[in-house]
């Protein structure tokens, strides 16, 4: 590692994020093809609707395993709420102003913690459990009706938040994308976005 770079994520963390993102993309695309008949051409690209169903099911297995593997990386940190987190929320992360800056943040900021807990864990568990219900126990009418409803509430959550997650991890915050590719960030990035974490690491 170059001297001015700081390690933010482990290799396993990045690999697992890639697995989660890839399985999510496959699931989201095939799912759109199932939900909107006008978009059924998406499932034609996934080798036809029969194969798309099998791909959707097994990508779901990969997704749910990958989801559980994220717990070790983020769950503990996300559940620790501190004063910086409330300050981050009240300043809306500084995203709606060119000048306002939230106070120095720990390794994850409040927005990341909320996204992780509500969307990744909450939505992820809801969509995984309902998916297994629909797949493995289709003979129960109640299962299908409730499972579908839950599945689609989670889909709505993801449809709204994942594009924002991608935007915030790329264009909105230059220097951030490499967190999930290379695993390293610059010292200046660390100080700007996660000042408290940088301080704890001895970066001034």
């Amino acid at each position: 590692m170059k001297k001015d770079l700081v390690q933010k994520t482990t290799g396993f963390e990045r690999f697992n994020h890639l697995v989660l993102a890839a399985s999510f993309s496959i699931l989201f695309l095939t799912g759109l093809g199932f939900l909107y008949h006008t978009l059924s051409w998406i499932n034609t690209m996934f080798f036809g609707v029969h194969n798309a169903k099998v791909i959707h099911e097994w990508a779901g297995v990969v997704f749910s395993i990958s989801l559980i593997l994220t717990f070790g990386n983020y769950l503990g940190e996300s559940l620790r709420f501190s004063r910086e987190d409330s300050a981050w929320i009240s300043s809306l992360g500084g995203y709606f102003s060119r000048t306002a800056e939230p106070p120095p943040q720990g390794k994850l900021n409040a927005g990341q913690k909320i996204f992780y807990l509500l969307i990744v864990v909450g939505g992820g568990l809801a969509i995984s459990l309902s998916g297994y219900m629909l797949w493995l126990f289709p003979s129960s009418r109640g299962n299908i009706l409730f499972g579908h409803f839950l599945h689609n509430i989670a889909v709505l959550l993801f449809a709204v938040t994942v594009p924002l997650h991608i935007y915030l991890g790329t264009a909105a915050n230059p220097g951030t994308f490499r967190v999930m590719t290379r695993g390293t960030v610059t010292r200046a990035w660390a100080k700007k976005h996660h000042g408290k974490w940088a301080r704890d690491l001895g970066i001034d």
Binding site: D4, F34, L35, Y36, H37, T38, L39, S40, V49, H50, K53, G94, Y95, F96, S97, R98, L134, P138, S139, R141, N143, I144, L145, F146, H148, F149, N152, I153, V155, L156, A159, V160, T161, V162, P163, L164, I166, Y167, A171, A172, N173, P174, G175, T186, R187, A188, W189, K192, H193
Partner: protein, 268 residues
């Protein structure tokens, strides 16, 4: 929203309700011969199934993947004595069909030009969502996990013939024709309420009942689960609006507030 509208227009039978074909079932005329069951099996090349004596003429006891149409024998004791009723049980060809609404595979369940709800086994992916979507518990799955049910002999009616069951019925208990005519016929024969006239956008299979539907073992107000309406009516359009909204919000943010640049030069 537009996508939802397009799906709806393609799948709903509302626009063809006026020229929809259908069946009128009159239990009063039925003699319980079950010729309709046999004719249906013959036309649709469905194998016979071994049955056991359960102490009733009703046989088989339920619809199966190889039995699209069945006469239910209803025994009810009333103050005037025992009533023995024969009611045809089969797909009702709903205009607002729960099965079509929930089916994720386009063309697996579809509406024929005559308004019948037909199926294409080659497109069925075996998810069984249609079973949960049906208010009458009709769809069955065959040994290959593909849907199987009455399709109103869509291959016959497309060629100007009447469905096998109606063709063979010796008493006119099952009669086929234009839905509007069938309703008028039932009225002129003195049936005040025609079951299925308005339910679920208008059923393709109508029933001339003397008593309340529940007397014949039918739901008084057939409907599919409200979660299907919430899912298809609210969550489905919201999902595409939300997706587009999130992308638009990100783009707007980028060109107005702008990204959080790292101001210390030379580092990045």
């Amino acid at each position: 929203m537009a996508l939802e509208e397009m799906d709806k227009r393609r799948l709903s039978g509302v626009d063809i309700i006026g020229r929809k074909k259908g069946l009128l079932v009159t239990p009063d005329l039925c003699i319980g011969c079950r010729g309709c069951q046999t004719a249906c099996k013959e036309w649709n090349k469905l194998p016979g199934e071994g049955t056991v004596n359960r102490g009733t003429y009703e046989n088989p006891p339920d619809l199966t993947p190889n039995l699209y149409n069945r006469i239910r024998f209803v025994e009810t004791s009333t103050p005037d004595g025992l009533r023995w009723l024969f009611v045809s049980q089969r797909c009702m060809h709903c205009t607002d069909a729960g099965c079509i609404r929930v089916c994720p595979s386009p063309g697996a369940l579809f509406r024929t030009p005559e308004g019948a709800v037909a199926f294409n086994k080659a497109r069925c992916i075996g998810c069984k969502f249609c079973v949960a979507g049906c208010p009458f518990n009709i769809p069955r799955y065959d040994e290959n996990d593909r849907i199987s049910k009455c399709h109103l002999c869509s291959d016959r009616i497309a060629n100007g013939l009447s469905p096998a069951c109606a063709k063979t019925c010796p008493t006119g208990a099952i009669s086929y024709g234009d839905r509007v005519d069938l309703i008028r016929e039932a009225r002129t024969s003195g049936y005040k309420a025609v079951y299925g006239e308005a339910d679920l956008g208008g059923l393709g299979v109508l029933f001339a009942f003397r008593e309340a539907p529940s007397f014949y073992g039918m739901p008084d107000k057939p409907s599919f689960s409200p979660t299907i309406g919430l899912w298809k009516g609210i969550l489905k359009p919201l999902t595409i609006i939300g997706l587009a909204g999130a992308v638009a919000a990100a783009a707007t943010h980028y060109v107005t507030v702008g990204p959080k640049e790292i101001d210390e030069g030379g580092d990045e």
